[in-house]
């Protein structure tokens, strides 16, 4: 399938990512993919399926198991003018590369006073809900959002997946690109004709009673919650943040000024998580509009739980609705 023809068609998130990566490689010969089994196999989740066959082994590189080596090698490619896209096989596998990401990827541009750019995209299938345990179900975004120099984004639907991965690759800054792996094959959706700016949040369901802000894997949970709340007469405004860093504070604050209430939900653990930062910004910028404290419904402050407990650990529909009840009862 040629990339230009996917606009207007319905794809799964996995296929949309594959098409987005293909388009990025077609558009810019400097785009190079690298990672464990991304070539012949097409990746554990088949997101890079067929790319090596079409673009060759030099542009879709099967690497050894060496995350620090993969990301660090990408740094060298990037400062010599390439746009590497690294696939980290699972969220928890990014930590062996943590040193390179926070010490080199994030900081070389600043440290060299702008002499070099580091346009690397680090794709991470992240989050739970697939019955796996730790290392395979984690949400590590707060570590990276805490590091200046990195951008952190998460796609939540196929159209965003298609466009955002291309925007991330074209960006001159390093981008941690989070793919909610349990949504890879969840539902097909139409690919929009044009992208939304990468760091712009989007109101995906208008409402008046309270704002529900989230990103990535929990966007679908938030929409379900809004549907259920509407049946009870509570109209929730749902915001897909899309970008964890930088956060589009303005869109959230605008919404809170109208609704007076905010609940933030994500799979990452509670303490020092993205919701805490959003709560801080909202109370700084919309203090007099708030009718209730900003509430958070997130993963708990524990290691990722065993598979039979993950439904209780994740912010599921019940937990989000419970949060909405508490928010509305103030």
């Amino acid at each position: 399938m040629s990339a230009s023809s996917v606009i207007g068609t319905s794809l799964t998130m996995a296929k949309a990512l594959n098409e987005g990566l293909r388009k990025a490689m077609e558009d810019d010969p400097k785009v190079v993919m690298m990672g464990e089994d991304v070539g012949k196999l097409g990746g554990v989740f088949r997101i890079t399926d067929g790319l090596q066959k079409d673009f060759g082994e030099d542009r879709v590189i099967d690497t050894p198991l060496a995350e620090s080596g993969i990301v660090g090698t990408a740094v060298g490619l990037a400062i010599r003018g390439y746009r590497p896209v690294c696939e980290i096989q699972f969220d928890g596998f990014v930590f062996p590369a943590f040193d390179q990401i926070v010490s080199q990827v994030a900081k070389l541009h600043n440290r060299s006073a702008g002499q070099v750019k580091v346009p690397i995209t680090i794709r991470i299938p992240y989050g739970g809900g697939i019955g796996a345990v730790e290392h395979h179900s984690e949400s590590p975004e707060a570590y990276f959002a805490h590091t200046a120099g990195l951008k952190v984004v998460a796609c939540a639907d196929p159209s965003d997946a298609y466009w955002m991965v291309q925007q991330a690759i074209a960006d001159d800054d390093p981008v941690i690109f989070l793919e909610p792996k349990r949504r890879y094959h969840a539902a097909k959706a139409e690919i929009a004709a044009a992208p939304t700016p990468l760091h712009q949040a989007r109101v995906i369901r208008p409402g008046t009673a309270a704002t529900l802000a989230t990103y990535g894997a929990t966007v679908s949970v938030a929409l379900e919650a809004a549907e259920a709340a509407a049946a009870d007469g509570t109209q929730l405004e749902v915001i897909d943040l899309r970008s964890v860093s930088p956060i589009d504070t303005e869109t959230v604050v605008d919404s809170v000024r109208r609704t007076g209430r905010l609940l933030v939900t994500h799979e990452a653990p509670l303490s020092f998580g993205p919701a805490a930062e959003i709560a801080a910004r909202v109370q700084e910028q919309a203090f007099y509009s708030l009718e209730a404290p900003v509430l958070r419904v997130t993963g708990y402050d524990t290691p990722y739980p065993p598979s039979r407990l993950e439904n209780e650990w994740l912010p599921n529909l019940d937990r989000v609705l419970d949060g909405i009840d508490r928010l509305m009862s103030y």
């Binding site: 030099d58 690497t63 050894p64 060496a66 620090s68 080596g69 990301v71 660090g72 090698t73 990408a74 740094v75 060298g76 490619l77 990037a78 400062i79 010599r80 003018g81 390439y82 590497p84 062996p96 040193d99 390179q100 010490s103 080199q104 070389l108 541009h109 600043n110 440290r111 060299s112 006073a113 702008g114 002499q115 070099v116 750019k117 580091v118 346009p119 200046a148 120099g149 951008k151 960006d171 001159d172 800054d173 760091h199 712009q200 930088p246 956060i247 589009d248 504070t249 303005e250 910004r281 700084e284 910028q285 919309a286 203090f287 007099y288």
Partner: protein, 357 residues
């Protein structure tokens, strides 16, 4: 531990301009580093400051082998390499001072000298941080041109302690697997801060650590400029023409502590005296005079010229402005970042419109 030096070079002193230039560079590095230590003690330089004192012959030999078209990644002990690569002492000293006229605009400091023009792609303050990026730069070279005697190559410096870091082994594996034009140089000064090599490396013959990656290793006497230059040249030639990575170990002494603030208490007085007697700058100077390559007057003139250049570098750094706080956010991102909290103390915590009816 005293590392046995298996030098392959008999290092005949070749008369002519080469030796004069090598001594000129060694003398400049020595003068620069002694002055850097002094400036550190006078609090002109903050944080930490790692000197090439005792490694001048290694620095000059390696940089003599590296062509202008090649790329260099170094460690945090890199002032000498920057000077030998042709950077002016003024902007290097200014970087140590943290001034805007520094080679990295004052953002890198002593450990992060950076200059794209001379293809110096960084000093790196984290041990081993430079190795995977250098390997990637070598991978980039393979996309650009064919192997051959005029091909570009990468030289990646590291210390003896760095050979114990995982990134070293990951990178050597990748370089060998992908046939990359890169030479890793282990500058072995015998000590990882204060821990001797044989107490940190299970294979203390560090040049052998490339064996499991089938990378050719060689050890040379780091006090011998010519031996270092020739060994580096041979490894670079293989890297250029055959796309085979190399591992070169130079053995020299660190005349002072790990950094300026390290009193080097792990060394006995006798050991310190023994090292001083082996000082490579003094040794080369004495030998060049004894073999009548330089006369005493010429050597003195070279030393005086080095002092004068360093004087001028300090004056330049001193007179240069500190960075403006408003530039704090300037290079954190390469692109304009919306909504980034760029609040400086004078900005109101609560935006005024929020307070007004």
């Amino acid at each position: 531990m005293t590392v046995e030096r298996e030098s392959t070079s008999t290092s005949v002193v070749d008369p002519g301009p080469t030796w004069g230039e090598y001594y000129r560079q060694m003398s400049l590095i020595r003068a620069f580093e002694l002055r850097a230590a002094e400036m550190y003690q006078r609090a002109k330089i903050g944080g930490y400051c790692h000197l090439n004192l005792g490694e001048e012959a290694t620095v000059v030999g390696l940089m003599a082998a590296l062509e202008p078209r090649d790329y260099l990644f170094t460690t945090y002990r890199e002032h000498g390499y920057a000077l030998a690569r042709g950077l002016e002492p003024g902007p290097v000293m200014a970087e140590l001072f943290g001034k805007t006229t520094g080679v990295s605009g004052g953002r890198g400091g002593s450990m992060h000298l950076f200059d794209r023009k001379v293809r110096l792609l960084g000093g790196y303050g984290i041990v081993g941080g430079q190795i995977p990026p250098a390997t990637g730069a070598a991978l980039a070279l393979t996309y650009r041109g064919e192997p051959g005697p005029n091909a570009e190559a990468v030289m990646c410096l590291l210390g003896d302690g760095t050979t114990n870091i995982g990134a070293f082994h990951e990178s050597l594996n990748l370089a060998a697997l992908w046939h990359l034009p890169i030479v890793y140089v282990i500058v072995n000064n015998g000590l990882g801060m204060g821990t001797p090599v044989d107490r940190s490396a299970a294979e203390p013959d560090l040049y052998k650590r490339g064996c499991s990656y089938r990378i050719t290793g060689e050890r040379v006497d780091g006090d011998d400029v010519i031996a270092v230059r020739d060994a580096a040249n041979a490894a670079l030639t293989r890297a250029r023409a055959e796309r085979e990575p190399g591992l070169l170990e130079t053995v020299s002494n660190r005349l002072r502590g790990h950094s300026v603030v390290d009193p080097a208490k792990y060394r006995s007085k006798q050991e310190a005296e023994r090292l001083r007697a082996l000082d490579p700058v003094h040794a080369v100077r004495a030998r060049l005079i004894a073999e009548q390559v330089l006369d005493e007057d010429t050597a003195r003139r070279i030393d005086e010229e080095a002092e004068a250049r360093v004087d001028a570098a300090v004056a330049f750094a001193d007179a240069s402005p500190d960075p403006d706080p408003a530039t704090l956010f300037q290079h954190a991102y390469a692109t304009a970042v919306p909504n980034a909290p760029h609040r400086l103390p004078a900005d109101p915590v609560v935006p005024v419109p929020e307070l007004l009816p």
